[in-house]
Amino acid sequence: MRNCFRIPKRTTAFLAVVVVSVLGLYGIPARGQMAGVTLYISGDTNIQEMFDKDLLPLFERETSVKTKMVFLEHGQGAESILTKIIAAKRTGQQTDVDLYETQPTFIAQGSSEGIWTRITKDNMANAAKVDPNRPEVLVSNGFGIPYRGSSVVLAYNSKYVKTPPRTYDEILAWIKQNPGKFTYCDPQTCGSGAAFLYVALYKYGKAEDFSGLTYDQARESAWEPALQLLRSLKSNIYNNGFYPNGNVAVLQLLGRENIYMAPVWSDQGMSYLDQGLLPKDIKLVQVSPPFTGGDSAIAIPVHAEHQASGLMFLNWLLTSKAQTIVVNKLAGYPGIDWKYMPKDVRDKFAGIAQNFSPLPNAKYQADAKRLWQEKVAGSGQ
C-alpha cells in the first residue's frame, strides 16, 4: 500500500521500454519469401556444418538459387514437421517444406497419406545412380533417396581393451566379463543404440524377414529370446542399466572413460576423434554380423511450394562433386553407387567397412523400440 503512488510512473516507463524495443524489432522484416528452396535437414551437428559451410554456399554460387535450411535435432521436431506436411496436404495447401531429410521410417509413415513425390530418373536424372535396393530406399517405401550413408560400428578404448571383440557374440561375452563398462543409447533417441537392438533381433530372426516392405506382427514372437538376452545384460550395463539419451551422450561417456566400449555411428566417431573430443585410444571397428546402417534419406512433398527447386537441389546433391564433399566431410558412404565416384575418393575409402545390415522397416522399427522399452528398460529387473 505504501508504495502504490509511485507505481504508475515506473510502469509507464517499463512499458515504454518494452514497446520501443518491440517496434525496433519489427523494423527488421523477418519473412524470407524469396524464390528459393527450403530444406529441412536433421541429424547431428556435423551434418549441419556440412550444409551450412560447404554444400549450400557452393550450390548457391553454382545455380544462383537461394537456399534456406531448417535444422532439426532428430528426436525433437521431426514428427511435428511430418504432421505439418500432412496437415497441409489434408487442407489442400502447399507446404514450405521443399525437401525433407529425415529417417526413412518417417518417410514411410507419410507415404500412406500420399504426401511424397515419386522420384525416378524421369524427374531427376541422377536418381539412376542410386541403388534401388539400398536399405534407406526400401525402408522408406521407395520414396526416400539416400545421399549419404554411414553405419554403426563398435568403439572401444584400446588402453583398457587389448583384444577387441570381432563378432556380436564376443561383444556380449565382453559385457558380461566387464560389468559397468559398456552401454548403448536408448534406441528411441539414437540410431547407434537401435543398431545394437536390431542386430540382437537378427540373431534370432533373419534380417531379410524384417527389412522388406511386408509387415506381420506375428513374426515378432521370434524376437522374444533377443529381448530376454538384452534384459539379462541390464545389470552389466554402465551404471546398473543406464541407457543414455542420444548418440552424443554415449560419445561423452567414452570420452570421459566412464565406459570403455559402445556402439557409435562411424561418421560421428571419426569427427569426434578429429576434433579431439575423444582420446586417441578410442578405435572404431566393424563386427560380424555388422551393425545396421543408413539412417537418413531425402523425400520431396508432392505439394511443396518450390517442388522443382527441391528436385533440382537433390539432383545437384547427387552429382559426384557434391557427393565427394559429403563423403570427405562425414567419413561415410555416398548416396550414389561407388562406381560413380572419382577414383581417388574410391581409393581413399577403400578400407572402410562397406557393408552394413539393413534396418528393419518402419513398422518393425517402431514395434522393436516399443518392445525394448516395455520388456528391457521398463521390465523392472
Binding site: C4, V22, R31, D96, G246, V248
Partner: protein
C-alpha cells in the same frame, strides 16, 4: 513521541516471533541460506566453468585448461542471433496482447456475478493441462486452415494459449483482494466508473498485474513445442533452438549457448529484482 516509538519497537519484536525460539535461531537461517545458495547457484556455476573449459577431466575441481575456443564455435552460428531476436519479438507481443484480452475478463471474474462464472474460471486451467503433444495434429490442421502456419501471428497465438491461465488467475486474485469500499468511496464523491477504475483500482492492482505479466512473459519465452510446429522455418525461437544445441553439441558448447541465451532473461531478472526489493510484487497480490 517516545511512546509511539516504544510501541513500534515492541511491534517489530513481535514480527520476529517465528525465530524467537530454538537454540539455532541464529545459525539455522544462515545454514538455510548456504544450502539454498548451493542448490540454486551450483548448477549455474558448473555451467559457467564448462563454458570456459578447454580441457576438463574428472576429478579435477577446475578445468585443467581454460579456453575461449567454444565461444568461436558459437559465434560462427548465425541462427543463434536470429533466435534471440525472434524470442524478443514474440514474448513481449504475447504479453501485451494477453493483458489486453485477459485483464478485463479478470476484472469481471473478480467483481461481477454472472451465470457459469466458476466454471468459466476453471476452464482456463485446461489451457495448461492438456498435453500439447496430444494436440499436434488438430492444431496443425487448424492453423493451416486459418493461414497461420509459419507466420508471426501464428506463433503469437500458440504462445498466447499458455499465458491465459496466468493473466486471468493472478489478476482475478489481485482485483478480488482490493477493498471495494475504496472504489465505492470514489464513486460516492462523484467519480465515474472508468475514472474510479483507472485512478483507484488500477494503481492498487498494478503490482499484481506486473507479476501476472512477468509470468506470462516467461511462459511465452519458454514455450517450445507449439512454437516448433507453428513457427518453423521462419520463426525458430530460443528454446526451440536450445533443444538442438544442448543435445547435439559437446558439453562445453552447450554451456556457452546456455550462458549466451540466458542474457535476455538476466536483464529481466535485474528489472524484476528492483520491483521485488521495493515490495511491488507482493503488495497488491493479496489474493
Amino acid at each position: 513521541m517516545s511512546a509511539v516509538s516504544a510501541a513500534l519497537r515492541q511491534r517489530a519484536g513481535g514480527l520476529f516471533w517465528f525465530w524467537s525460539v530454538g537454540a539455532f535461531r541464529r545459525s539455522l537461517p544462515v545454514l538455510f541460506l548456504a544450502g539454498l545458495a548451493a542448490f540454486i547457484l551450483g548448477p549455474l556455476l558448473s555451467l559457467i566453468l564448462w563454458a570456459f573449459a578447454g580441457r576438463w577431466f574428472y576429478p579435477a575441481l577446475l578445468p585443467q585448461e581454460f579456453s575461449l575456443k567454444w565461444w568461436d564455435v558459437v559465434f560462427g552460428n548465425r541462427s543463434v542471433v536470429s533466435s534471440i531476436k525472434y524470442s524478443l519479438m514474440t514474448a513481449p507481443t504475447v504479453t501485451l496482447l494477453s493483458a489486453l484480452i485477459c485483464l478485463p475478463a479478470a476484472y469481471a471474474f473478480a467483481r461481477f456475478q454472472f451465470p457459469g462464472r466458476r466454471f468459466l474460471l476453471l476452464s482456463f486451467l485446461s489451457a495448461n493441462s492438456f498435453p500439447k503433444i496430444g494436440l499436434y495434429i488438430s492444431i496443425a490442421t487448424l492453423f493451416y486452415r486459418l493461414h497461420l502456419m509459419t507466420t508471426f501471428w501464428g506463433v503469437v497465438l500458440i504462445q498466447l494459449m499458455g499465458t491465459l491461465l496466468f493473466m486471468i488467475w493472478i489478476p482475478t486474485g489481485t482485483f478480488r483482494g482490493i477493498n471495494r469500499s475504496l472504489e465505492e468511496a470514489a464513486r460516492d464523491v462523484g467519480a465515474s466508473s472508468a475514472r474510479t477504475f483507472f485512478q483507484i483500482t488500477l494503481p492498487i492492482a498494478m503490482p499484481g498485474l506486473l507479476v501476472a505479466g512477468l509470468f506470462a512473459f516467461l511462459a511465452a519465452f519458454d514455450e517450445a513445442q507449439g512454437t516448433l510446429i507453428v513457427g518453423s522455418p521462419n520463426y525458430i525461437t530460443m528454446p526451440v533452438m536450445m533443444y538442438t544445441l544442448v543435445l547435439n553439441y559437446p558439453q562445453p558448447v552447450g554451456a556457452v549457448f546456455s550462458i549466451l541465451l540466458t542474457v535476455p532473461s538476466l536483464v529481466l531478472l535485474l528489472l524484476a529484482q528492483r520491483l521485488l526489493r521495493q515490495g511491488y510484487l507482493a503488495a497488491g497480490y493479496t489474493l
